[in-house]
């Protein structure tokens, strides 16, 4: 009986917390002529899909670019972070402790400071407004986190398994590829999820380094909408809904990885 009361309060609190999300969906379905109605419609009684049509017409290239940048960032992050995590966990390199400390500090550097540094470098090298330059910049958000997750996870792999592989004649690389990596599936998933999500959500790097490019991510698509036609809020909110899809998918498919990632010294700009 008491538990039912808690469930009720829990439902109310969740509804309160998610009201902005509901409102985003509601506004995305509101016809343009009702947008400034007073009082506003609390429910989408006359839903329109004009907003979503605008997304299809205007935003598909941005969504594609974001997908590309997200996947590229995941690839760069895994290639750099997984071997380093293995080394820090099992091979005990000299200066490993210092490296761990450096990674921790690296996560505390404000994004705008990095963006300004990258801007100077990219300007010199002619990399401004290129999608792969943005992948490099976005990966800096995820690499330190990735190394820390891999190190923590791979430390838990029993030494006997690695020793057994070695006795069977496998070298370090072979052991890493055929024994350690398959066992580290959870860590791989967690790092990939966060790497993708952060790159997908990035605004600071996109706006400073790719503001004039022909391949721009969805965050800039929304930003441009807000700047240009700040009247068509159903289109803006429809884009916001679509841009939230990866987060929703992650939550449904991989909730336990998400929670694991947050608690493992979670980080987000």
């Amino acid at each position: 009986m008491k538990s039912r009361g808690y469930t009720l309060i829990g439902l109310l609190l969740t509804a309160l917390m998610l009201f902005p999300v509901y409102w985003m969906v509601n506004v995305s379905l509101t016809p343009q002529q009702d947008m400034r109605k007073d009082p506003p419609d609390l429910f989408p009684l006359h839903p329109t899909f004009e907003g979503y049509r605008a997304v299809l017409d205007d935003q598909l290239p941005y969504l594609g670019t974001s997908l590309l940048i997200g996947l590229g960032t995941v690839a760069v992050t895994l290639v750099i972070a997984a071997p380093a995590g293995y080394a820090l966990a099992k091979l005990r390199p000299r200066g490993g402790g210092t490296l761990g400390l450096a990674l921790l500090i690296a996560q505390m550097v404000p994004g705008i400071v990095m963006a300004m540094g990258f801007y100077g470098i990219f300007l010199d090298l002619g990399l401004l407004n290129s999608w792969w330059g943005l992948i490099v910049a976005d990966s800096t958000i995820a690499v330190p986190f990735g190394v820390m997750i891999f190190t923590a996870f791979m430390s838990g792999i029993p030494g006997e398994l690695i020793a057994a592989a070695r006795i069977d004649g496998a070298g370090t690389w072979r052991t890493f590829r055929s024994v350690v990596l398959p066992l580290s599936r959870n860590a791989l998933v967690t790092v990939s999820l966060f790497g993708f999500l952060w790159a997908w959500s990035d605004f600071v790097f996109a706006n400073t380094l790719d503001g004039g490019g022909s391949w721009k991510p969805i965050t800039l698509g929304i930003y441009k909408y807000i700047g240009n036609n700040n009247q068509e809020w159903n289109a803006i909110m429809a884009t916001a809904v679509v841009a939230s899809v990866p987060a929703a998918v992650l939550l449904v498919l991989a909730q336990r990885y998400v929670a694991a990632g947050v608690t493992a010294g979670a980080v987000k700009d």
Partner: protein
């Protein structure tokens, strides 16, 4: 080749990509930023790369700027008020969800949503909710008889508006970490306390709160480091305005470097350096606390 040397070389091969990466994409950009802050850059010399060394001039310019005081004050207010509310609400929710009622797992998962959404999504949603004429927040205020507020347009309210949005975004992080901390408090302690006649508040004050202190310290310090550098949210909602009403060190730095037609890279980078210094102080404090707990 001796086995020991071979082993060291193999290890190096595994770590080398990371080392190269850190030098190229962390150390070098940070060096460039420092270099920017110590030279007198104009758009022309930025492209040509021959800006004269100017020592502390950019820092002096920044410290003398009338925006410095407000930006510093707003950064502190934004950070500390956000964290205080995020922590208190997150802790209350963590204790609540620790009751394990029906649906508690699902609802707790749903609470993660604000944290997972791209910041531009949250920021633009809150912008429209805070709209002076047509926003739902003013409408709700109206239904309880309160006058509408110019949330994003009035200098008195802009900072409050971005703080409210930021608290909303940060609650899930606090909830998840504090909840996981609660899992480590043995249930027998509560049973014993209940036998001794301690009520719910007594149990919270005498058991939960003291035993959660280490986790709380970590949560608060991490929150501090991450809130200091919040940029997207404020920039998208108010651009630091109206005037300087909601500008923080982060938005001001961006404003100087990229927000105008005549970029002032030097002073912008100098503000960034100051921001790093502040973040580093709290960051090192965090590392110390964490090390002490592990020891």
């Amino acid at each position: 080749m001796s086995p020991a040397l071979r082993r060291r070389l193999t290890t190096l091969v595994f770590v080398l990509p990371l080392l190269v990466y850190l030098v190229a994409f962390y150390v070098y950009p940070l060096y460039r930023n420092l270099d920017l802050s110590l030279r007198d850059y104009t758009v022309r010399s930025f492209v040509a790369g021959d800006a004269p060394f100017s020592g502390w001039d950019n820092f002096r310019t920044v410290l003398d700027d009338p925006t410095f005081g407000p930006a510093m004050r707003h950064t502190m207010v934004f950070t500390f008020v956000s964290i205080a509310f995020q922590y208190v609400i997150g802790l209350a929710l963590a204790v609540f969800f620790n009751r394990h009622f029906r649906l508690s797992t699902v609802l707790r998962a749903l609470f993660l949503i604000p944290w997972l959404l791209p910041l531009i999504v949250s920021a633009s949603t809150w912008s429209w909710m805070f709209n002076s004429e047509s926003g739902v927040v003013n409408h709700l205020l109206g239904t309880v008889g309160l006058a509408p507020v110019g949330w994003l347009t009035s200098p008195d309210w802009a900072l409050t508006a971005v703080i409210v949005a930021n608290i909303w975004i940060g609650i899930p992080f606090n909830l998840v970490i504090l909840y996981s901390g609660l899992q480590n408090i043995p249930g027998e302690l509560y049973e014993a306390a209940a036998l001794d006649g301690a009520g719910a508040w007594q149990q919270f004050r005498r058991i939960t709160f003291p035993l959660l202190r280490p986790v709380s310290a970590i949560t608060l310090l991490l929150g501090l480091v991450y809130t200091l550098k919040v940029f997207d949210l404020i920039w998208i909602m108010t651009k630091g305005g109206p005037g300087d009403a909601s500008s923080t060190l982060a938005t001001w730095s961006y404003q100087l470097g990229f927000g105008t037609l005549l970029p002032k890279f030097g002073p912008g980078a100098a503000v960034g350096d100051i921001l790093i210094l502040i973040a580093l102080v709290f960051g090192l404090l965090y590392i110390r606390v964490q090390r002490r707990q592990e020891a």
